[in-house]
């Protein structure tokens, strides 16, 4: 879902709070993946393990995403290791920057990485996908970079998360099913490719499905402090439901403003909305009845084992980034067996044979049932949750 390019993002990491209070400074935050090049999983000692690399921002503004991904990979390597097929992982920090991400990729390649789960953010993933797809190729599956540009025209690059157009289309289909009679306003960040990408696909699909979209409102990063004017416009246009493919920080402002205006309106967001209940100081009662389309819920019964193991290991509740990364490891292990590849297979051989295997497997993962098309895009059922009593409940 993330479309960070490494410059600025309003969604910052929670760890820096702790580190900041401890006076450690933003550059030393390496919690989770305890250092920028930690090794995990079993079989690391005897050297005969399948090597999975992970890349994400472990420091800086987007560190919470990168740490989740690296933790997810580490936990995945522990859980999916078997005696015949031991796994080991190594994480590298890219600070959500394309150039640093390519360096991280190269250093993992020197380590002997056989498959990559990462990078975490879109800008970095586009840069690394180029390198991974040129000789000598390395198989790559990004858990969270959602732009279609990441996988476009590349044979060995896959996504474990929905891409933006898919998510927009899915949202339109779901809304047409659940709320055919509402009048919609689309509320998006025109300066953010994630938000704008979902919006474009949503609007096209909504027209096809004859959803009534009465208004569209946009904002940019530098003007996300107050949405009263946009809401006034939407209300005037008669909108009864907001579709907001935006991050949770502006979403919390949107809900607060709507409440102050006394504008009673339903709202649905996408996976970027996940996290809204964790905003410090936010009156979570405002989020009651909010719909979100997100692939993973830590509150769901079937994910309890993963959630508990994750909590025990990293002392926090896993988010969808961790779940997507865990599923990516799951998929790689399954595809390796499907392709009949040996544990010491050459990365180039893996990159050649694994894609066909990935498109033929079906992974029962944390984020649903995952299958892949030959473009590298994932197909899974979107799940819609509604917030009730401060928890995600299937809608």
């Amino acid at each position: 879902m993330s479309s960070l390019t490494g410059t600025f993002n309003p969604v910052m990491n929670r760890r820096s709070v702790i580190a900041g209070v401890a006076g450690l400074g933003a550059t030393s935050i390496l919690a989770g993946c305890s250092d920028s090049a930690s090794e995990g999983g079993s079989g690391a000692s005897d050297g005969a393990a399948f090597k999975i690399g992970a890349i994400g921002p472990l420091t800086g503004a987007a560190a919470s995403y990168g740490n989740s991904v690296c933790n997810g990979v580490e936990l995945g390597c522990k859980d999916f290791s078997t005696d015949e097929f031991p796994l080991t992982s190594k994480a590298e920090d890219d600070v959500a920057d394309g150039e640093k991400s390519v360096n991280a990729f190269n250093s993992l390649a020197d380590w002997g990485m056989q498959a990559l789960v990462g990078p975490t953010t879109t800008g970095a993933s586009i840069a690394v996908a180029e390198v991974a797809n040129s000789d000598p190729k390395v198989f790559m599956m990004t858990p969270s970079a959602s732009s279609p540009d990441v996988t476009a025209n590349k044979t060995c690059v896959f996504q474990a998360c929905f891409n933006d157009p898919n998510q927009g289309e899915n949202a339109a289909v779901k809304l047409a099913e659940m709320f055919p009679d509402e009048k919609f306003v689309v509320f998006y960040n025109s300066g953010d490719p994630y938000s704008a990408g979902i919006r474009d696909a949503f609007v096209a699909k909504a027209a096809e499905l004859k959803l009534e979209v009465v208004d569209e409102e946009s904002f940019k990063d530098d003007s996300q402090t107050s949405f009263t004017n946009q809401l006034t416009k939407a209300k005037d246009a008669g909108a009864t439901m907001i579709f907001a493919p935006i991050y949770y920080t502006p979403a919390s402002v949107l809900l607060t403003n709507a409440n102050e205006m006394g504008y009673e309106v339903k709202m649905m967001g996408c996976d970027g909305m996940d996290g809204i209940l964790g905003v410090e100081g936010f009156d979570t009662s405002l989020a009651e009845g909010l719909f979100l389309m997100t692939p993973f819920s830590a509150d769901e019964e079937k994910n309890a084992d993963f959630v508990n193991a994750y909590k025990a290991a990293y002392d926090e509740v896993p988010d969808q980034f961790a779940a997507d990364a865990y599923d990516a490891v799951h998929a790689i292990v399954m595809a390796m067996q499907e392709a009949g590849l040996a544990i010491d297979a050459d990365p180039a051989e893996i990159a050649e044979k694994l894609p066909a295997a990935v498109t033929s497997i079906k992974v029962e993962g944390l984020t649903g049932t995952l299958t892949w098309n030959d473009k590298g895009e994932v197909e899974k059922d979107p799940m819609v949750y509604v917030i009730q009593d401060g928890k995600y409940v299937a809608a």
Binding site: P10, V11, M12, N13, R14, S16, V17, I18, A19, G20, V21, G23, G25, A26, A61, S190, G191, E217, S218, F219, K220, D222, S223, Q224, T225, S226, T228, N229, Q230, T232, K233, D236, T249, P250, S252, V253, T256, E260, M261, G262, V279, E280, G281, F282, D283
Partner: protein, 293 residues
């Protein structure tokens, strides 16, 4: 018509916040003849202090505002003493660069102390607005903001016009050397100006965050720049100018968002500023108010 009035109310409320910030800019510029670019970040600090006092200590909102005012006043005096006073004889560019440095320092300090994760600021005012007003988007915060803005402006006009300290400030503004010869303690007067400016910043911070609840280390930057624009728009150094500039800026922004484009609103605001400055280089009030504060 109702909708138009709603936009007008939105613009007035946001404009009042800009006006309070702009008053701080204009005070400091008028007297110390320097652009205090760290002003926006003092606002952010004020908001954080208020947030901490209400959320972590559980004290009432009024106490939190007072705490914010005290902390920011001390902070303002400290900044002036440590960063600007040693540069009193240096050129204006050196001071300007220092101000930008202080701004970055405050932002990063805030990130270290409170983290980069945005916090949601709970509005400090929570009384019910009568229904007939609510129909026009009038919220408790906007009422308080507009009233606070008017009171502050009147108080500043009175202070600079009638009190001894105010007269000293105006004297320093006209000619520092001459003021010193007349027995005015210029350094103390400038410190006082910073204290007042920073106290205003604390109030502005609390009101800004009550109006738009996201609190993060960069919260003060954009409103700070817009308020600076408003101060220049109205004629920097002029108290009524800052007030009118702030209100107009808020209204122009609201109308641009409402009737032209939400994405282009900022560009339109700054385009209007350029046009005004082309026609009236001293700003709206710059020319007609000879007594700069």
């Amino acid at each position: 018509m109702t909708v138009f009035l709603q936009y007008l109310v939105n613009g007035l409320s946001m404009g009042s916040v800009y006006a309070i910030i702009a008053l701080g800019y204009t005070m400091v510029y008028g007297i110390a003849k320097m652009l205090n670019f760290a002003h926006g970040d003092v606002i952010m600090i004020g908001a954080y202090i208020s947030f901490c006092v209400t959320s972590y200590l559980g004290l009432p909102a009024v106490v939190s505002v007072l705490a914010a005012v005290v902390v920011c006043t001390v902070l303002g005096i400290l900044i002036e003493r440590l960063a600007y006073k040693p540069l009193r004889q240096a050129g204006p560019l050196a001071v300007l660069i220092t101000a930008i440095g202080v701004s970055y320092f405050l932002q990063n300090a805030a990130q270290l102390i409170w983290g980069a994760t945005p916090k949601n600021f709970t509005s400090i005012v929570s009384f019910q607005v009568p229904a007939f007003l609510k129909a026009y988007n009038v919220s408790a915060v906007s009422l308080v903001t507009v009233v606070a803005c008017l009171v502050i402006m009147a108080a500043l006009m009175w202070f600079t016009g009638k009190t001894k300290m105010g007269k000293a400030m105006r004297a320093c503004s006209e000619d520092k050397a001459a003021a010193q010869l007349m027995g005015i303690n210029v350094n103390r007067t400038i410190s006082m100006t910073f204290a007042i400016g920073s106290a205003l910043a604390a109030i502005a911070g609390v009101l800004l965050c009550s109006y738009s609840p996201v609190l993060q280390p960069t919260t003060g930057s954009m409103p700070g720049i817009k308020a600076f624009t408003a101060a220049v728009f109205g004629g920097i150094g002029s108290i009524p100018g800052a007030f009118v500039g702030g209100i107009l800026l808020g209204i122009i922004e609201a109308m641009a968002q409402a009737y032209i484009s939400t994405s282009l609103a900022n560009s339109i605001v700054f385009a209007v500023l350029i046009v005004v400055l082309l026609v009236k280089p001293a700003g709206l009030f710059g020319k007609y108010v000879p007594e700069k504060v």
